[in-house]
């Protein structure tokens, strides 16, 4: 009993520390990034919430603000950067484009919602959202973190990693994306080392997926030179 009480108190301190120093990974994709920069500047001052230190490395970040249009070509990079972040980690989807595709939702080149690739905690609507909207999203994320401590689990749903309805069979981007989802198998079906696997190393991925860096030839279906 005494031990449990101690653990809950320590959890409370951890949760407080986590939600009051959310360091974002620097990840601006489109015009939403301009509003994200405006939020960090003096007028709105993200530092009031302890989230001002935009880290250039995902290893040092707690939170990812997906600010802008995620194209299919960018999607594996988004997933990879998310996987490289240390737990616990949270994601804010900022703007209509990353929420569901926005104006490009019916297009061929844009991911229909970044929640197909990474789990998203908070959705901020807007095109682009005002800096106040992003601040409101950050405050909601702080509430979510506190709620997760009380529940003892994450609230967000995980993506399935099923791209069969969006990308054709044999698409190099689809193969790359599927290799970034559990159970993290190589192309020959052998399990990959979760620590040193191809998740954060492009060379490993290319040696395991021959021809992944070139598009298949229209006639033969074989991978050809770029």
């Amino acid at each position: 009993m005494r031990q449990q009480l101690l653990v809950t108190q320590v959890d409370k301190v951890f949760s407080w520390a986590r939600r009051s120093s959310l360091w974002p990974a620097m990840f601006g994709l489109a015009c939403c990034a301009i509003e994200m920069i405006a939020t960090a500047n003096a007028r709105y001052d993200l530092a009031r919430f302890g989230a001002e230190v935009f880290r250039a490395s995902p290893r040092q970040a707690d939170m990812m603000i997906v600010a802008g249009t995620v194209t299919w070509k960018m999607a594996p990079a988004v997933r990879r950067i998310y996987l490289q972040m240390a737990e616990p980690k949270w994601v804010i989807s900022m703007g209509s484009c990353s929420n569901i595709g926005g104006p490009f939702a019916h297009g061929y080149s844009t991911l229909p919602g970044v929640n197909n690739v990474i789990p998203v905690d908070v959705y901020v609507p807007g095109c682009p959202p005002r800096p106040e909207s992003l601040l409101a999203g950050l405050m909601l994320l702080q509430d979510v973190i506190e709620e997760e401590r009380e529940l003892g689990r994450k609230l967000r749903p995980e993506p399935t990693g099923d791209f069969s309805s969006m990308l054709p069979e044999g698409d190099p981007i689809r193969r790359e994306l599927e290799s970034l989802f559990p159970p993290y198998l190589n192309i020959d079906g052998t399990p990959r080392d979760p620590l040193t696997g191809a998740l954060d190393n492009d060379e490993n991925f290319l040696s395991a997926h021959p021809g992944a860096d070139s598009y298949p030839d229209q006639q033969s279906g074989q991978a050809g030179a770029r």
Partner: protein, 161 residues
Amino acid sequence: MAYGLNLAKGMLTTFKHLSRPPTTVQFPEEERDLGPRARTNLVWFVERCTGCSTCAQACPDGCILVETEPREDGSYLVNRYEIDFRLCMYCGLCAEACPYEAIQVGGSYTNVQTDPTQLYVNKDGLIGQANEYLESNDWTYPNGQKAVEQEVHAASERQHH
């Protein structure tokens, strides 16, 4: 000598800024005044809407859904009016197209959600948002016109019959 001079110049700029008031807006407590063309949420006022669907035709994203049925007196009953705020790019073309200014730009900009389906707002949700807007803004529409409280309530009631 030159080094000291440049340092003094820099410090002078710093001292100038010391006496200025801070620029930071303490957001949750105080909010900035919105510009007339700020891209905020759309507010739909059922008492002004005739169900002509001009907004839905003007929308480049196709995020507005309107479904109507004729009443006995020749006017339209709006059965469904839904806006997908996940898709909306807040361009305001619907508000520009509307001949009766029934849909206007100027609503809330802090409707963040943990569940994206909450951003798909149906008719009851939009009526609730509009009434909330009018109540907190002294029964004035975003375009500056005054709303008649009884008309708004009567129109909201009329939708259910």
